[in-house]
């Protein structure tokens, strides 16, 4: 693993790429996500297996480690909440 990313925009684009790749969502749909776009419970593609894949892909691509106790429905609720979490792990 290389050093963690340190650019806010890069975390944003990495998160969008992971959502595309893991959930198989169209690029245009993911590009339109804003902070309030709901995720877990709102997208049929986003089931519990997808949560596992999403977290592991984020770890691999951002060079971070996510603990189980950090994972809950609030953190996965919206694009904004997930982005805030990813940034806090990456930019610390």
């Amino acid at each position: 693993m290389t050093a963690a990313l340190n650019d806010e925009q890069e975390v944003d684009s990495t998160l969008r790429a992971v959502l595309r790749d893991v959930l198989g969502l169209p690029e245009a749909q993911v590009a339109e996500f804003d902070e309030s776009s709901p995720l877990f419970g709102a997208l049929p593609e986003f089931d519990s297996m997808a949560v596992a894949g999403l977290l592991t892909e984020l770890e691999e691509r951002l060079g971070i480690l996510i603990e189980d106790h950090e994972v809950d429905a609030d953190m996965l609720e919206s694009f904004g909440s997930l982005l805030t979490f990813a940034r806090s792990k990456t930019l610390q």
Binding site: M1, T2, A17, D21, V22, L23, G24, F40, E45, D47, S48, M49, A50, V51, A52, G53, L54, L55, T56, E57, E59, E60, R61, G63, D68, V71, A73, L76
Partner: protein, 215 residues
């Protein structure tokens, strides 16, 4: 038994016969698939890679590990050692000279003197995936491996070797001999394949096996 270029044979492990599928004829490669749900998600990708290599004069064997696919054993009763034994036994039964593994399959390729790996995963990260899949649902995901298997899995690492080639996706930050563009198909809930990725994988396998004198 054969149909449409597919041949089925068996290998023996734990006192039972388990199935393996073969495509093509020629120098034999043992394919070791990803584990658990990822296995189903990448079946089409592996079959595409095997088909391309078969056209290149190689025979490609894909075993059903005990407790998976057509195996008559229940996954709950299978131990990590059973899977290690299965990979070794399948390697011999196939008369293989090299292995091709994807993700968790790389944890089982020790028997092969020449090993090609795509996106190898540590047992710890696979065990974490399984437990995470259970975090958001009551009772866990669709797979019920024994606690004993999970313990052993969590400690498993791809074995080092002299003739090991590792490829990863361009999006993966871990080290690799070569990185390929493509989607992480093992994450997709709906099984999919990518013909571009399958072709790029098959080409690299073929070149690597030639450079190692396997074929």
């Amino acid at each position: 038994m054969s149909a449409g270029g597919l041949h089925y044979s068996t290998y023996r492990v734990g006192g039972r016969d388990e199935w393996m599928m073969r495509i093509g004829s020629g120098p034999a490669l043992l394919f070791l698939p990803p584990l658990f749900e990822e296995m189903n998600r990448t079946r089409a990708l592996l079959a595409a890679v095997m088909g391309t290599l078969a056209g290149d004069g190689l025979s490609c064997f894909l075993p059903d590990l005990p407790g998976t696919g057509e195996s008559e054993r229940a996954l709950e009763e299978v131990s990590w050692q059973d899977w290690r034994d299965a990979a070794g036994s399948a390697f011999e039964a196939a008369g293989a000279c090299a292995s091709v593994s994807l993700r968790g399959g790389a944890l089982l390729d020790e028997a092969a003197p020449v090993r090609w790996r795509f996106a190898p995963a540590t047992g710890a990260s696979l065990a974490r995936d399984l437990s995470r899949a259970g975090l958001m649902t009551e009772g866990g995901g669709g797979y019920a491996p024994s606690a004993r298997l999970l313990d052993s899995l969590g400690a498993a690492e791809p074995a080092p070797g002299k003739r090991v080639r590792t490829l990863r996706l361009a999006t993966d930050r871990a080290e690799a001999d070569l990185k390929l563009e493509g989607p992480p198909l093992w994450r997709r809930a709906e099984p999919q394949s990518s013909s571009e990725l399958a072709e790029a994988m098959a080409l690299d396998v073929s070149n690597w096996m030639r450079s190692c004198g396997v074929c």
